[in-house]
Symmetry: C2
Subunit: 295 residues, 2 copies
Amino acid sequence: MSELDEFLSESVRIVDGSLDKLIPSAETAPMRLHEAIRWSLFAGGKRFRPALVFAVGRTFDAPMEKLVRTAAAVEMIHTYSLIHDDLPSMDNDDLRRGRLTCHKKFDEATAILAGDVLETLAFQAVAEDASLSPDMRVILIAELAKAAGTPAGMVAGQQLDLEAEGKDAPIAEIEKIHRLKTGALIAACGRAGAIIGEGYTVEAHAISEYAANLGLLFQVTDDILDVTQTTEDLGKTAQKDIAANKATYPSVFGIEETKALARRLCDETILKLEPIDRPKKLLVDIAVHILERCS
Amino acid sequence: MSELDEFLSESVRIVDGSLDKLIPSAETAPMRLHEAIRWSLFAGGKRFRPALVFAVGRTFDAPMEKLVRTAAAVEMIHTYSLIHDDLPSMDNDDLRRGRLTCHKKFDEATAILAGDVLETLAFQAVAEDASLSPDMRVILIAELAKAAGTPAGMVAGQQLDLEAEGKDAPIAEIEKIHRLKTGALIAACGRAGAIIGEGYTVEAHAISEYAANLGLLFQVTDDILDVTQTTEDLGKTAQKDIAANKATYPSVFGIEETKALARRLCDETILKLEPIDRPKKLLVDIAVHILERCS
């Protein structure tokens, strides 16, 4: 097992333990709501966003116990967005992380409420994080809210994405959608790790740029995987973007050109780390790991 | 104009001004998202919850400028819950506050996202409230999250409410649903006003009990209005509970008995204020005002 693989599986273990404590048990009323949350949250997700919080946090010498609730909160926000994105009025998908989507397994109303309350629980988890000073907690909550919200965050990106369906969106628009829908929260993970390590003020710009680029790289490789992998490999419906007539990097540039773009993006992502005067191997490895998903 | 009426219309003016500043303009991209939020948020709501934050805050000598963002945040959470409750898979309603519901005016996906992001903006508003210490902000965020969340908050209540449809729920269950679905957030409004006025530690129990009772009173009078008023008076579909075969106080006890219950609840609510050694006229007036909605 490589150092990175070890780090990633340890990240999964730690964040899953925290999530299990933060989410009411499936035996707590209303049981159906908590079952639905747990169905979507514990579906074997890769926990890429928590891993990024941990990796940047470690780079900035933050102890694990100060990172774990923020990492869990980010995963809750991410999972809420997946549950809502899969709804019939949005992407209308039956499969996610290799199992039925929340509204398919339960029902639409329960899925909406499960997503709603995951968002609430995420902010609550950070607000009640006794390992961090209140000053730090409010900074983190504001960062996560901006990244998940509007006009510069995830929900704004999802709205633009829905509006772009069936239209021939220019590549600048596609990039903007990616940067908001996926990139903003991933960038916030990077910033959060640095904030908790109290490195944010000194090396703020670099780590934010690194994580924002990483988010874009993540989405570009996701677009490639959507075209090249089967539904079984992906654990979610493949070729969804084509079916929805969505403009993506591969639909505009073709697969090979998009792969070349991903390689350039990966190089740029790593370059962003230059001003940071700390051991950076883990952060470099993560960027390469994301690129290698589609090669 | 009575003193209470003046207070209530001043509350509306102040909270609406704050909401207008906190929500991106309808000209900010994605415009449709921000239009949808504004459609539902500025629909002439009575702003009862913000008024309660202001009233309790004033009772505890909190200056208005420290209360206003929290009051706005509560109204955002309330409005997000209305937008989602009205969706086809939930209460499936076309009318709210006298105009088309969000998903009818726009579309379902936009309505889901508008609700999602109102929740985000609510927590962001408190996290970035420079008039309050970070200590106070995290306490308020945690209070609002618990009240809006699960297992002891609004979303838990909405889930139980949906599950109770078509069933002969016992009155204890109806009360529990009311206490969670409506009462928890209203109780949090009371506590928030006291927390900001720094009176929470001394007179915590009393104000929390007052506000929780007030929330139940509010819901019981709402149930009565649902039966006795027309759709036009209500600005939302009347007799919805009957149509949904929902057990309510009037369906179990009849109208007259429920009105008597509301009067007793109002008396109890006012009694809860006894331990508080401050001018309480405003808080008493608010309880009476709610009772009088249905008499």
